[in-house]
């Protein structure tokens, strides 16, 4: 979980700014749904595949990424061919393959931190009117990464404590203490964050927060 799907490297795609890559992907997403000719879609899929290969990701990583998608597409292809006709199925297959491969090329070559920063810039207008708050978003993202292993460990501890009392695995009995513990931990985590002077001083005007103490 702690490893992202990004593969470090120095290919042309790696060097392209995150915003540019996302822009192209977004445009392709719309464009591909307007097109229906199998030849055009096939060409798009081929280009996308070439881009993925240009990222020089280890083959093992590629297989791990593509296998589940491949199975999904195969099943979908069969369903569409059966319920519709072969032509629609082929177009769907090529279109989805192109789109998913393009997206994969972006994911493989863009650091999560860079994409996050791009999204933050994208939502900057919202931040300015106080709807979004980039600082909180990045704190939230870090906290999730930090606490997934912790939640998993607590899950195992609870499972174990229950097994020791002879209880069989029971999702309801597991989740109740897990959530209660997590909610309680949240109080401590929030205190620990506040104790370290969060949030940073310069805040966008219109930020919701005033000096925080009140009774």
């Amino acid at each position: 979980m702690n490893t992202s799907l990004y593969v470090p490297g120095d290919t042309p795609l790696h060097r392209l700014p995150a915003g540019a890559k996302f822009g192209v992907l977004f445009a392709a997403g719309i464009g591909l749904f307007l097109l229906a000719h199998p030849a055009v879609l096939g060409a798009a899929a081929a280009v996308a595949a070439a881009l993925v290969l240009s990222a020089r990701a280890p083959l093992g990583a590629l297989r791990a990424r593509l296998l589940p998608v491949g199975v999904m597409l195969a099943v979908l292809f069969a369903a569409t061919a059966l319920l519709q006709d072969a032509g629609t199925a082929v177009a769907m297959l090529l279109r989805l393959a192109a789109l998913i491969l393009l997206a994969l090329a972006v994911t493989l070559t863009t650091r999560p931190a860079d994409l996050l920063e791009f999204f933050e810039r994208l939502t900057a207008p919202l931040a300015r009117v106080g709807v979004a708050n980039p600082e909180r978003i990045s704190l939230g993202v870090s906290l999730v990464l930090r606490f997934v292993p912790e939640v998993f460990r607590r899950f195992q501890e609870i499972r174990e404590a229950q097994a020791a009392r002879g209880l069989k695995a029971n999702p309801v009995a597991l989740l109740v203490p897990l959530i209660v513990r997590t909610l309680k931990a949240a109080d401590d985590v929030a205190d620990a964050i506040d104790a370290r002077c969060y949030p940073p001083p310069r805040r966008p005007s219109g930020g919701a927060r005033t000096e925080e103490n009140a009774t």
């Binding site: 501890e157 174990e160 002879g166 209880l167 109740v176 203490p177 513990r181």
Partner: protein, 249 residues
């Protein structure tokens, strides 16, 4: 503080001979090795545990909790076998766990239901006990630790010491013959620590207690020091603690 009045904890009338008379089950480890993700934590352990009060001490990460979990099959060895009265924890885990109870450091993990009595009853239902026997058993176990008044309280709102006593009672209600404790007093103050210490001292089943509180094990029959993948010292409490202080601080 002295042992609570009333029947000795766990020494219930009827059915089974009182645990106080029943000998502690014999736990044997034969050539036991365990590791996580390929890193060995304990290796080539041979042990025979039959004393009524056994302490386990050692550094953070030395493998004390792993050893404790081996004793009731929560962890099964990568190599070798753990036998409880001859029953292999690998193949007979559920059965072993009904004989060897386990009390954890953090009582919050153990609480499933919000009301103390409900939570205790839950364990018994899982043992398949007839419904009408349950309330009696629960009341008896709570009384034996002097916490009968907590039966209808919210488990999560109890103090740390009360919670740990409830956790202990919820294990004792199942009438184990041995109870393994993994640092039962770490979160507690002097008074609560003494309450737990006295409750452990007074209870009928045998006990294996993992702890960093070196005073706790001072009256025990035997103390093991876990160190560098094995039992580095095994003997009387005074000597074990002296060895530990010398080699591990």
């Amino acid at each position: 503080m002295t042992a609570p009045a009333g029947p000795a904890p766990g020494a219930a009338p009827g059915e089974r001979p009182s645990a106080a008379e029943a000998p502690a089950p014999v736990i044997e480890l034969h050539g036991v090795s365990v590791g996580y993700d390929g890193r060995t934590v304990l290796s080539g352990l041979d042990l025979r545990l039959a004393e009524r009060r056994i302490g386990v001490i050692g550094q953070n990460g030395s493998g004390k909790s792993t050893l404790a979990r081996l004793l009731n099959g929560l962890v099964v060895p990568d190599e070798g076998r753990v036998l409880v009265d001859g029953r292999d924890t690998r193949t007979d885990g559920r059965r072993v766990r009904s004989e060897v109870g386990f009390v954890f450091q953090n009582p919050d993990n153990q609480i499933v239901f919000p009301i103390v009595a409900e939570d205790m009853a839950f364990g018994l239902k899982n043992l398949g006990l007839p419904k009408k026997e349950i309330p009696g058993r629960v009341a008896e176990a709570l009384e034996s630790f002097g916490i009968g008044h907590l039966a209808e309280r919210h488990s999560h709102l109890l103090s740390g010491g009360e919670k740990q006593l409830v956790a202990l009672a919820s294990v004792m209600v199942m009438r184990p013959r041995t109870v393994v404790f993994d640092e039962p007093t770490t979160l507690l103050d002097l008074r609560n620590r003494n309450r737990i210490r006295d409750a452990v001292d007074a209870m009928a089943p045998a006990a294996v207690v993992v702890t960093h509180d070196l005073e706790l094990v001072s009256g025990y029959d035997r103390v093991l020091v876990v160190h560098e993948g094995g039992i580095a010292f095994d003997g009387a409490p005074g000597e074990a603690v002296a060895w530990y202080r010398e080699h591990c601080s």
